[in-house]
Symmetry: C2
Subunit: 146 residues, 2 copies
């Protein structure tokens, strides 16, 4: 599966989240062989749960795993410190990021600690978050503790 198809899974999750009134950040975790382990989207609004960001939702959906060596996390948005910490702690090998224009989290820090970071600068991801942040600034600030 190419990066475009992997990102498409995360974008689909983000759009599903947006359609149910939530924050449009989606993510997916792929195993070393490129198989989809799990995907998910931010559920702060839907579940009243501040711990469920796109990346943690995908990680949770992937279930319990003995190792994350060789895995790739795809996310529509640069991972915040919370999600960057998850990626570092569990040794997720690579992160594909839809965009880091509207928000920049810890991806440089991850790169400095050995994670392979690719930023795709995807216009659809930028548009989605730009629109969301401008229409829901308070909710977005809440989600990133700003």
């Amino acid at each position: 599966m190419g990066t475009d198809e992997m990102l498409a899974v995360a974008v689909r999750e983000a759009r599903t989240g947006l359609a149910s009134g939530g924050i449009p950040v989606g993510a997916a975790l792929f195993g070393p062989d490129g198989d989809l382990w799990g995907s998910g989207h931010n559920r702060r609004v839907q579940d009243d749960d501040p711990t469920i960001h796109g990346e943690t939702a995908a990680f949770r959906a992937a279930g319990r795993r003995r190792s994350y060596r060789g895995t790739t996390m795809v996310t529509t948005l640069s991972p915040c410190w919370y999600c960057s910490g998850l990626i570092r702690q569990f040794g997720i090998t690579a992160v594909l990021i839809g965009e880091s224009h509207t928000f920049t989290g810890g991806h440089d820090w991850l790169a400095a600690h050995g994670t392979t970071i690719t930023i795709l600068n995807d216009p659809e991801c930028v548009d989605m978050m730009t629109t969301f942040i401008s229409t829901h600034p308070t909710l977005w600030s809440e989600d990133i503790g700003d």
Copy 2:
């Protein structure tokens, strides 16, 4: 509430988790006025959910909040990178740590970024984790992605 009483809430959570077959790490989040916002324990085993560490459980139990300024997270064990990232992203002001002898996560990094870190070197916390790690080494390794 003093630090001993705050730690006792986290220890109680850890012991509850241990009694239900889980990993004995507990945590609690206290508001600026010292009121308990939420507490919880690691639930990897109980819920088959790798995202629920002690600190994320306490954060979740506290519900949606507009600001974490002035809050204190109490945890029985030094927070891993995942939980350290949570603490940094949401600007939790202070972290009380039962012990960092059996595991050291990101508390020095947090201190460098302005979080007030206090390590209590609590013998009960050290004993609890020392026993757990020696009797469940594989489960513990799984929980920290080791």
